[in-house]
């Protein structure tokens, strides 16, 4: 027990704080994009909608290395976007925690999108129609009728997205690297600890990560059952 306490005391907890920060920001981004896209795919019928939806769902099934490579190609130094950002704004997401946020948001988006789309589809359209007859603007209908009705489903998906973002490893490692105290998240700290043979540290971090994830998943299932 004493050795465990000593280990806990000597452990650098910055990866935990960073993981929470990265996952939180990534989840907010995924939430905004996911709700908007989910509404579009639930309500608007247009040519190629299902193909486009499949494209946004891809990060759920693609290997993280593909996501990481895609982000490097799209935003790396040699890409037009990366070169422009570097030249004009002196900014790059590579090797910064922002890179980990982008990677996590991309892999978390499908989870919000799918639950939001399902939640919007489940909203009774006659309630929206009734609100419209009461001289509510479309935005007001969305904010005062549609969104409150769809909210539990969206929130459940958002918690899942947060858990997924916490677990992101491969793409983040490729884009942000594993820089101690800067971009080293929990999952990367575990990887480094295993590689270096610090099995007790790895085990401690694994326990912390698992407890956090279980908490989030239990919360998520509560919200799913609320619907």
């Amino acid at each position: 027990m004493n050795t465990t306490n000593a280990l806990i005391a000597s452990t650098d907890w910055s990866p935990l704080a960073l993981s929470l920060k990265v996952a939180a920001v990534a989840t907010v981004l995924a939430l905004i994009a996911g709700v908007a896209l989910g509404w579009v795919f639930a309500r608007k019928k247009f040519f190629g909608a299902s193909v486009l939806e499949a494209v946004f769902m891809l990060p759920l099934v693609l290997p993280p290395t593909v996501i990481g490579y895609a982000i490097l190609v799209a935003a790396g130094r040699r890409s037009p976007l990366g070169a422009w950002l570097r030249e004009h704004l002196d900014y790059t997401i590579i090797f910064s925690w922002h890179g980990a946020v982008v990677a996590s948001a991309v892999v978390a988006l499908p989870l919000v999108l799918k639950s939001a789309s399902a939640a919007f589809s489940g909203v009774d359209r006659s309630l929206e129609a009734a609100a419209s007859t009461l001289r509510q603007s479309p935005l007001s209908v969305f904010l005062r009728v549609t969104l409150p009705l769809a909210w539990p489903g969206i929130l459940a998906g958002t918690l899942l997205a947060f858990a997924r973002a916490m677990g992101e490893f491969g793409a983040s490692l490729m884009v942000a690297g594993s820089i101690p105290k800067q971009t080293q998240t929990l999952s990367m700290a575990i990887y480094d600890a295993v590689q270096a043979g610090h099995d007790d540290l790895a085990l401690l971090l694994v326990v912390v990560t698992s407890l956090l994830s279980i908490t989030v998943l239990v919360l998520s299932s509560r919200f799913f059952s609320l619907r």
């Binding site: 490097l72 090797f95 690297g177 820089i179 590689q195 270096a196």
Partner: protein, 249 residues
């Protein structure tokens, strides 16, 4: 006809078993990747029936795998420290240990648009944002880099710029892609990406870069493993190593 078919089926199924009996797995430092991929077929040609499989990664990671019971027969490390750790942990047959190559630590920058670096101190300039080096704990080139920068009193001041990579080849990749302004690799790695990276200078102040090879204690193919380790000293293997820029130990 029937019994023949059955027999040939049995033989076909048994063939991989026979081959596996003559197969060794060589865990080698990432910097040896290209040279060993060429030495492997030559060894197989010289030794009929033998098959060599390679497993390339940072030396520290390879030793860690061996310690966890990975079925490895030969270990080739990019530094003496990792090999000595293996000997101390009784994972390696100390009697079979031999140095077979040497290398040089160099500072590289992207060939196009990279900064002009004339000395290690130039790494402190503001246009050098990020410096890639191997992870200190598991990647030998990272430890050589640390020694070199410590000798120049630059290790501590440069620390905020460091990006630690999983192997020397990842450092090379970061520099070749231009995502970092500088990185420390071996001369042989820089030569492979000649068009994308340029060598700024040779870094001194570290223990000599020498490569030891040894047979793994738990190997089930010790005879063949020993033959491969010895083959690395042969003129044929040394020729290949020299062509990739390795020096004699």
């Amino acid at each position: 006809m029937r019994p023949f078919r059955l027999l040939s089926l049995v033989l076909a199924l048994a063939l991989p078993l026979a081959a596996a009996a003559q197969q060794i797995t060589v865990s080698a430092a990432a910097s040896l990747t290209d040279a060993f991929k060429e030495i492997g077929p030559r060894f197989e040609a010289a030794k009929a029936g033998a098959t060599v499989r390679f497993n390339f990664a940072a030396s520290g990671v390879l030793l860690q795998q061996i310690g966890q019971g990975a079925p490895v027969d030969v270990f080739a490390s990019a530094d003496q420290e990792t090999m000595t750790r293996g000997v101390d942990q009784k994972l390696i047959d100390a009697d079979t240990r031999r140095d077979f190559a040497a290398n040089v630590l160099v500072l590289i920058a992207p060939a196009h648009g990279g900064p002009e670096l004339r000395s290690l101190a130039d790494l402190g300039r503001p246009e050098v944002r990020r410096i890639a080096l191997g992870k200190i704990e598991t990647v030998p080139v990272g430890r050589y880099t640390k020694q070199s920068l410590e000798a120049a009193n630059l290790w501590t001041p440069l620390q905020p710029k460091f990006v630690q990579a999983d192997s020397v080849r990842q450092v090379l990749d970061y520099v070749a892609r231009g995502e970092v302004e500088a990185g420390f690799v071996y001369r042989t790695d820089a030569a492979i990406m000649g068009g994308k990276v340029k060598v700024a200078l040779t870094a001194g102040g570290h223990t000599p870069v020498t490569y030891p090879v040894a047979v793994v204690s738990e190997s089930r193919q010790k005879a063949l493993a020993k033959e491969f380790a010895e083959y690395l000293q042969s003129p044929a293997a040394q020729d290949v190593l020299a062509r990739y820029g390795f020096a004699k130990p």
